[in-house]
Each structure stands twice: as structure tokens, then as C-alpha cells.
């Protein structure tokens, strides 16, 4: 394998991993507050079509991003009202949200299947983008990829360095204690769920506007579920979520290249590879039981009644 192909695989892996980065980091914040939202796939789909409509109507990426994030957050709001205000079961509500999202996005997208978007140009930074290897690898992506890195930095800082992050983790760990300390558990969880929805929506926008600039029903194709799994297997640590997302993207790309080179491994096995490899790697790096207990939100998925 020559070096150029290797760089191309890495560049493609970063792009392929980016939808997972957005959706999984959003879900990470939601779960850190103690809420399990299984509706990521649905929120991504609704975000994708809303972003697509925004882009098609305005031609502006910013409008597309805002539309997608708002739509994702609105979907999450439905989930939040059901589970946080009406105390419905989180697992069932999340599954219902996905089913709803699949249908709603198909309906919203009825008139948009025939439109092709121009896509999002890759940034060309003078000098930096022209550096061999490094320039291609680091400085030749579109803006949505860079903003996902900014998001990652922000989440690391927020969770582990800011007071608000500490409160969020406290709410996920021991909602009763947080309540006793005077924090509005339900309110904080609302915000966390809405943030998760907005990020899932943004992941959808990336897919429909930048990655494959078109709209077709069901185009998220299970990526929301992969994002959910990444959060759990990464034991709720942002850096591991990132590593998992790029690893998954990288192996997906690499297995196509292996096929193209005619290396004799059954393609069915290769298609499984991203899932298996990502799970194995993340389980290995997260195998420390103490660390899992430390990082998994103790009240995850449990309904919280403020008055009990």
C-alpha cells in the first residue's frame, strides 16, 4: 500500500467519523445528566432533512446548521416532556422517538428528494493546506469537521473544568443529593437532553449537506445507533468517544480499500469489522471496572420524581 492511499484513507476516515462525533458527544452530555435517550437515529434524520431544507432554501450553511440543530432540539423536547415532565419510561420513549423521526423526516422530505446540493467546500488555508501529508490530513477539511473538534474541546472543558459541568455530572450521579443542594434537577436534565438533540441534528446536517449532499429517506442508515453504542463502550469519556468515532470511520473506509485491492477476505466479514473492532478496542481500553463505575452516571435511565 503506498503512502498516498494511506493518507487518503485517514482523510476519509475523519469525514466518515464526524457524524458519530456530533451525535455521540451530544448523547454523552444527555447521558451524563442521567437521561438515556435512544432516539438519536430519529433526531439525526429530522436534523438531516431540516438542515437540507434550510440549505436548499437559503443556500447558506449557517442557516442549514441552525435549522438542523433547532429541529433536533425540538425532537429532543418531545422526549424531554414525555420523560422528565410526564415521567414516562425513557427506553420506550426513546424508541418511539426514533420511529417517529423516521416517519416525520420522510414526510418533511417528500418534496426534496429531487434536489442536489452543491456540497460544502473544503477549506483551503494558504501554506498550511499545501504542506505535504500533514496539510492534507489536518488542513483540508470542511468547516463542519473543524467545528466538531471545537465542540470536542468545549465538552472536555465543560465536563471536567467548569462548575456547570460538575453540577451536570452531579445530577446524573445522584439527583436526590443535587436536588437537596438546591439544584433544579429537571431543568438541568431538560437542557442536557435539548443539547443532545441539537448535536444529533447537527450530525444529521453533516450527513445530508456535506457528506452526501442529498436527501433520501432513511439516509442516516443506523448511524444513530452506532453513536449510542459508542457512548456506552467509551465508558462516557469524551476522548474515547472521539477515538471510537474515528476508529469506526477509519475501519469502514479501510475495509472498502481492502476489497478494492482484491485481498481475499469475504466482504460480509469486512462489513462487520468496523463494529467488532470498535467494540473490542473500546472494551479493552475501558475494561477497568473502577473506571467504569466512576464514569457511568449512576442514575442513568431512571425516572426521577422530585417530590419523593
Amino acid at each position: 500500500m503506498d503512502g498516498d492511499i494511506f493518507i487518503q484513507i485517514l482523510v476519509a476516515a475523519i469525514a466518515a467519523g464526524t457524524p458519530f462525533v456530533y451525535a455521540a458527544l451530544g448523547e454523552l452530555i444527555t447521558e451524563k445528566s442521567g437521561v438515556l435517550n435512544l432516539g438519536v437515529e430519529g433526531m439525526m434524520l429530522v436534523g438531516a432533512i431540516s438542515g437540507f431544507i434550510g440549505m436548499a432554501k437559503s443556500g447558506s450553511l449557517l442557516v442549514a446548521v441552525l435549522c438542523g440543530m433547532t429541529a433536533g432540539a425540538l425532537m429532543a423536547l418531545i422526549f424531554a416532556v414525555l420523560t422528565l415532565t410526564l415521567m414516562a419510561n425513557q427506553v420506550a420513549s426513546g424508541l418511539a422517538l426514533t420511529i417517529f423521526g423516521v416517519g416525520l423526516s420522510a414526510f418533511l422530505g417528500l418534496k426534496y428528494t429531487s434536489i442536489a446540493l452543491p456540497g460544502v467546500p473544503e477549506l483551503h488555508i494558504p501554506f498550511l493546506s499545501d504542506i505535504p501529508v500533514v496539510g492534507r490530513l489536518l488542513f483540508s477539511h470542511d468547516i463542519l469537521i473543524y467545528s466538531s473538534l471545537v465542540l470536542f474541546g468545549f465538552i472536555c472543558w465543560f465536563l471536567y473544568k467548569s462548575k456547570a459541568g460538575l453540577i451536570l455530572r452531579g445530577v446524573g450521579e445522584a439527583p436526590k443529593s443535587a436536588h437537596a443542594l438546591g439544584y433544579n434537577v429537571i431543568g438541568i436534565r431538560y437542557l442536557a437532553v435539548l443539547f443532545g438533540g441539537a448535536m444529533a441534528g447537527l450530525g444529521g446536517v453533516y450527513l445530508a449537506v456535506a457528506y452526501t449532499p442529498m436527501w433520501v429517506e432513511g439516509m442516516v442508515a443506523g448511524r444513530g445507533w452506532v453513536a449510542l453504542a459508542l457512548v456506552v463502550f467509551a465508558s462516557w469519556r469524551p476522548l474515547r468517544v472521539m477515538a471510537g468515532a474515528y476508529l469506526f470511520g477509519g475501519i469502514t473506509i479501510a475495509q472498502f480499500h481492502i476489497q478494492g485491492f482484491g485481498i481475499e477476505i469475504p466482504s460480509q466479514l469486512l462489513s462487520m469489522l468496523p463494529y467488532i473492532a470498535t467494540i473490542i478496542v473500546l472494551v479493552l481500553i475501558s475494561r477497568d471496572q473502577k473506571s467504569i463505575r466512576l464514569n457511568s452516571p449512576a442514575s442513568l435511565g431512571l425516572t426521577y420524581h422530585p417530590n419523593n
Partner: protein
């Protein structure tokens, strides 16, 4: 109790209306035709082509027919329910347009002995069930000629769904077409193990382009390969539908399915009471396979050669699987002067010379 009585009354009214409706329906002697689609119609792809066929039939037969379609019907028990509902509500001819509808169609056929069914891509027929599909490999052969002439790297990329005979037949026909004009051609195949996943289709196309393919074609259902080719500045040959608006520069042509004539003929036969269950396998000659308009970048001599070959297929002087054909190991699989029979075509399980890689087992 008053509410209860009201309910009874309204149920009665509804029943009367339904009875009235069905009476008026049977009074008009229109042929009611139902279509069952596997996916939404959308703007390109398998189901879109079937729906174009339905619309063409409506146009041809005017008020002699009335059609209805149900889209997005999953294969399995749900399909049986949908087909049965159509039969029950007065649809006398029902087209079921996906391979997995085969057994549901046969089951419903047993319950409704007077209804006629046409199942697409299946191999089982019954007293009132016929099958139909297209010799799309003829179109593949022609697009292979275009690809073989337009490539500079002599490497063609093929994004494929599942390693089944139908898909392998297409890969081989494409390769043979390309090799007929350019013996040095190599075809790289990447299996995405999905009929429809735009993300994966894009990733596979990217990998093929990175490995030197400068013409991309696909046997999957989305427009992603064409979009990716446009973005990366290489050529694309689409499948199912004309996808030129997704890649005005990249899109050279496409092998498309055309069902209008078949649907019109079949409906007319039912109207005339001459319908018989048949296994129809029609191609370019019958107008079931057509190429999308050529991109202006394709030189006139290539267009002429494709046209000549197309005429040859129609008059029988050209067959895509015309011997001698060698498989990958160089062994002769079709001897000189022979062509493959339909049965051999339907069970194809090997790559011809020029395709790289092995068929996943």
C-alpha cells in the same frame, strides 16, 4: 346507552356508504390495477422506474384503467396484508415489484382465484401469477463500452450491493463490454452489503477513486456514487434511472429500466381476456432497457459504436455473453461461437477475466 345507539347508527351509515361505493366501482368497467412498491418512489432508482411505467400505462390506456400504488411496503407478512387488501378492494391486476414479495403474492393468489398477479424478478409462477424482469445486463454491456472508451487509467470502479447472480451478471456484462473496446481494462468491485446506504456507497466510491478508478458505476439504489464522482472529478455511469442532474459533468449515461410498454401490454391483455401467466424476460429489443442520454463529452464515434452494438443486440447479431469468454483463471467458460443460455445467466456465480478480486462466498 344513547351514545351506544349513536355508535350503532354511525356504523350502519358507514356500512351503507361502503356498500354504495363498491357498487359504483363495480358498475364502471374500468380495470383496477394495484402496484406494491418496496420503497418510496423518490426521484431515482428501482421504484421510481416502476412508477414511471405505471404512469406511462395510465397515459396509454386512459380511462380504461384505474391505478393505485402502495409504497414502502416491507417484504414479509406486511406485504401479504397489503396485497390481500388490494385484491379484496377490487383490484383485478396487481403488480408486486420486489423479489421478496414472491411468496406473499403466491399466497394471496390462492385466496383470490379470479385475480391476476405479476411479480417482478421472481422465479415462481402459478395459474394466475406471472413474472417479469429486465435483461439489464444488455444495458450494462453498452455502458461498459462507454466506460472502456472514456477511461484513461484503464481502471473502472463498481459499487455492488450483494454477491448474488443478478449483480454478478451485471459486473460481468459491464466488464465484457469494456473489454470489447479496451482489452487492458480492469474492473475493481467493492461490495457494500446493502441495497441502499448513501453513506457507504459514497465511501466505497471514494475508495475506488483513490485506487485509480476514473469511471464509477454501481448496482445499488442511491445517487451517492454519481454525486461522489462529480465531486472528485471522475466519470460515473448510473443504474436504474437517469441521474445526470446529480452529476452534470460526471454522468456519462445510465442503464435504465423501462416498464411502460410491459405494463400497458399486460393490462391490455387482461382487458381483452387474453392474459396468461408467463415468465417475461425482456431487454433492449422489447424496449425494457434503455440508455439515458449521453453526456456531450462522449465522442461521436463512441456514441455511434454504442448505437451500432445496440442495434446488434436487437437483431441478435450481438450477445453480451458471446464466446469465447474466459473466467478469472483464464479457463474458457463460454466457447467460441456459443452464447450463454438464460438458465446459465440466471445462475451466474463467477467473474469473467478482467474483474479483480474474488466473489465473497
Amino acid at each position: 346507552m344513547a351514545i351506544g345507539r349513536k355508535n350503532v347508527l354511525s356504523v350502519f351509515v358507514v356500512l351503507l356508504c361502503v356498500a354504495g361505493l363498491s357498487l359504483t366501482a363495480s358498475a364502471a368497467d374500468k380495470l383496477k390495477i394495484g402496484f406494491v412498491y418496496i420503497s418510496p418512489i423518490g426521484d431515482a432508482g428501482w421504484t421510481y422506474q416502476h412508477d414511471l411505467g405505471r404512469l406511462a400505462m395510465e397515459k396509454n390506456l386512459g380511462d380504461k384503467v384505474e391505478t393505485k400504488y402502495i409504497e414502502n411496503v416491507p417484504e414479509g407478512p406486511e406485504a401479504e396484508r397489503v396485497i390481500r387488501d388490494l385484491a379484496k378492494s377490487g383490484y383485478d391486476l396487481i403488480f408486486t415489484t420486489s423479489f421478496g414479495y414472491m411468496n406473499p403474492t403466491l399466497k394471496v393468489d390462492k385466496m383470490f382465484p379470479k385475480k391476476r398477479f405479476e411479480h417482478s424478478t421472481g422465479y415462481k409462477t402459478a395459474k394466475n401469477v406471472g413474472t417479469y424482469m429486465c435483461r439489464f445486463y444488455e444495458g450494462r454491456y453498452l455502458t461498459g463500452i462507454v466506460a472502456g472508451k472514456m477511461t484513461e487509467s484503464n481502471t473502472l470502479g463498481y459499487v455492488a450491493a450483494f454477491p448474488i447472480p443478478e449483480v454478478i451478471r451485471g459486473i460481468n456484462a459491464f466488464t465484457l463490454g469494456a473489454k470489447s473496446v479496451n482489452p487492458d481494462i480492469k474492473v475493481k468491485v467493492i461490495w457494500v452489503n446493502s441495497w441502499f446506504d448513501p453513506g457507504k456507497e459514497r465511501e466505497a466510491s471514494e475508495a475506488l477513486i483513490a485506487q485509480g478508478a476514473d469511471v464509477i458505476t454501481h448496482h445499488t439504489d442511491s445517487t451517492a456514487p454519481t454525486l461522489t464522482a462529480e465531486e472528485k472529478g471522475v466519470y460515473a455511469i448510473a443504474y436504474h434511472s437517469d441521474m445526470s442532474k446529480y452529476g452534470p459533468k460526471a454522468h456519462l449515461t445510465a442503464a435504465t429500466h423501462v416498464y411502460g410498454d410491459f405494463y400497458t401490454r399486460t393490462a391490455q391483455a387482461v382487458l381483452d381476456n387474453t392474459w396468461k401467466p408467463e415468465q417475461v424476460w425482456s431487454g433492449i429489443k422489447e424496449g425494457s432497457i434503455e440508455l439515458a442520454p449521453m453526456n456531450p463529452v462522449v465522442p461521436a464515434d463512441v456514441v455511434a459504436l454504442v448505437e451500432k452494438t445496440r442495434k446488434g443486440i436487437i437483431d441478435g447479431s450481438v450477445h453480451p455473453f458471446q464466446g469465447p469468454i474466459k473466467d478469472q483463471s483464464g479457463k474458457i467458460v463460454v466457447e467460441a461461437g456459443k452464447t450463454l443460455s438464460d438458465k446459465e445467466l440466471l445462475g451466474m456465480g463467477y467473474y469473467v477475466e478482467g474483474v479483480l478480486g474474488k466473489i465473497p462466498k
